[in-house]
């Protein structure tokens, strides 16, 4: 689905480089790394909001050959600090995720039906008529995630979608993402290492602007993680469950 080769994207002093990366059509991929390691830049790059040098293929075609609209039909991005400054009701906020599927003038019956379905799946139907600006931080985050899912594209790029969400809903949403990942590629920037290792299928670790460690859960190594994060990382296995313990070096 996605193939990157000798990619360099610079922004001011910062530069992101990915030597070679290939990601298949579906699955749940976690993007990890410390602050400023290039995770967000990586998602921007994939979504086409950042210019780059090198080769980026999406669905077997050079990314440069896509128009903004046609790329938008394949990729959805949930930015980290999503904001909205009009008191739209929640239903409408989620509905606007379907914009790319419209003629630009009105939403169809299908758009409404899809929106309702996604809202039920993400457990926000009870917020339907509430003005967005009156929601709590976690609720807003869930609504914006629902909006991104509602765009219904093959690739979802989510930048820290759970940072403000309560544990109950984290579990529910991860369940939903896993379900969706059977048919879609979902790339998630995440800080919660335990959650990532427990639930994701592949990990991309970034260190000071470079994709440095690309592994599956089976291959993952404590020592390597410790050096990436600069903390001591220990895996504790108990009754086939994996726990992760971290402490300052």
């Amino acid at each position: 689905m996605i193939r990157l080769d000798e990619i360099v994207a610079t922004q001011g002093d910062f530069s992101l480089s990915v030597k070679s990366l290939s990601i298949k059509e579906s699955g749940l991929v976690a993007v990890l790394g410390n602050n400023g390691s290039g995770k967000t830049t990586f998602l921007s790059l994939l979504s086409g909001l950042k210019s780059y040098e090198g080769s980026y293929e999406l669905s077997g075609k050079d990314f440069g050959s896509y128009s903004a609209k046609s790329a938008g039909e394949i990729l959805s991005l949930l930015p980290q600090s999503g904001a909205l400054n009009m008191p739209f009701d929640v239903f409408y906020v989620v509905l606007t995720g379907r914009f790319i599927h419209t003629d630009g003038r009105s939403y169809s019956k299908e758009d409404f039906d899809e929106t309702e379905r996604v809202m039920i799946e993400t457990d926000i139907m009870h917020l339907k008529e509430r003005p967005f600006n009156e929601l709590s931080g976690g609720e807003k985050q869930r609504v914006l995630l629902a909006r991104t899912i509602n765009k219904d594209t093959k690739v979802l790029l989510l930048d820290e979608p759970f940072s403000d969400t309560d544990i109950l809903h984290q579990h529910k949403l991860i369940g939903l993402l896993k379900e969706l990942a059977k048919k879609k590629l979902i790339i998630v920037v995440i800080h919660d290492l335990s959650l990532a290792i427990r639930e994701f299928e592949r990990f991309l670790f970034f260190e000071s602007g470079t994709l440095s460690y690309d592994v599956t859960p089976e291959e993952i190594d404590e020592e390597r993680l410790s050096s990436i994060f600069g903390v001591r990382v220990k895996f504790i296995k108990e009754a086939s469950k994996l726990f992760i313990y971290t402490e300052e070096v």
Binding site: G72, F99, G104
Partner: protein, 324 residues
């Protein structure tokens, strides 16, 4: 808001607008019988009163629609032609046209002035593609003050005596004519039609730019278009009626309080609400004094708008900042 509810409100607002218009054309400095008018009375009705009421309504509609549009692109509920300094810089353009003896080109100069002022305010107040509301207000004040100073300076240069330039600073509809009414109506209808296809996109640019862009909206292109249309509407209103403050701020806010937030609801309602507001204000302005004396309508709208703004600042601080 439910579509059916919206149609009911739209229906009653339109009705109110019609009633206000009928009321406004039947009351004035001179008492006119509605039927069997003499030639003079007909002249008064068709050459003075009707154009004036229509111009007031259209200027109101243009100002309120431009205010609503400014609030979209500036991502700020306090944005309108007045607070962004666009009115004052348009007036500056208009006065320059007068100084150069190019009275016919007033709307064009007003547009150029307005766009210049607006661009300056936008550039000053946008930090990393986000408009800082307080900075925008401050920049707007600075640009307005600068433009007013330039106007005063030109007034001083042209002659000390109180000349008609003052008119631009006070605002009013005394120079209404059918030709102005027609031109303004064309400008409004053209603007409305050209942005009607962008209603959904307008709602989406209320998100942060990254989200909006990722949703499939060409934010930069849309913003440029809206800037231009909002400035155009401001330029024509200022060119024909001077600077009239606050209408573009007050009316969209009230409409949003009535839970009509989407562009497809807000903008049509802005046109009707703006017309209603200004026709009523002008009716008061030209009938409150005796014997056909008139009050500049800008005094009235600024008075009402000022009280509204103050209430907003005191009671609804939260709402001012949900725009973040």
């Amino acid at each position: 808001m439910k579509k059916s509810n919206w149609f009911i409100i739209l229906f009653f607002m339109t009705l109110a607008l019609i009633v206000a218009t009928v009321f406004a054309v039947s009351i004035g400095a001179v008492k006119l019988p509605l039927f069997n008018m003499t030639t003079v009375e007909k002249n008064i009705f068709f050459n003075v009163r009707l154009p004036r009421v229509l111009l007031a309504g259209l200027v109101g509609a243009a100002l309120v629609m431009s205010g609503a549009l400014f609030q979209y692109v500036m991502k700020n509920p306090l944005a309108d032609s007045f607070t962004t300094g666009t009115s004052a810089s348009s007036a500056m353009g208009a006065v320059i046209a007068i100084m150069l003896g190019l009275e016919k080109l007033i709307p064009l100069f007003a547009l150029a002035g307005g766009l210049t002022g607006l661009t300056a305010v936008y550039k000053i107040s946008s930090v990393r593609n986000r408009i800082q509301p307080v900075t925008m207000l401050l920049a707007g004040i600075v640009i307005s003050t600068f433009a007013s100073a330039t106007i005063s300076f030109m007034k001083y240069l042209s002659d000390d005596a109180v000349s008609s330039i003052i008119f631009w600073l006070m605002g009013g509809f005394s120079s209404a004519s059918i030709s102005k009414v027609i031109i303004l109506a064309i400008a409004i209808i053209g603007s409305y039609l050209s942005i009607r296809s962008d209603f959904l996109s307008l709602d989406i640019i209320c998100f942060d730019d990254m989200t909006a862009e990722a949703s499939g909206v060409n934010v930069a292109r849309l913003r440029r278009k809206i800037f231009f249309i909002a400035s155009l509407l401001t330029a024509f209103s200022v060119g024909y009626a001077g600077i009239i403050g606050f209408a573009g701020l007050v009316i969209p806010h009230i409409i949003r309080l009535l839970r009509m937030v989407k562009a497809a609801e807000l903008l049509p309602m802005s046109l009707i609400g703006g017309g209603l507001f200004m026709i009523t204000n002008d009716l008061i302005a030209r009938t409150i004094l005796s014997e056909g004396q008139e009050l500049p309508v800008g005094i009235l709208t600024s008075f009402i708008g000022g009280i509204f703004f103050l209430t907003l600042l005191i009671k609804r601080k939260k709402e001012l900042f949900y725009f973040d």
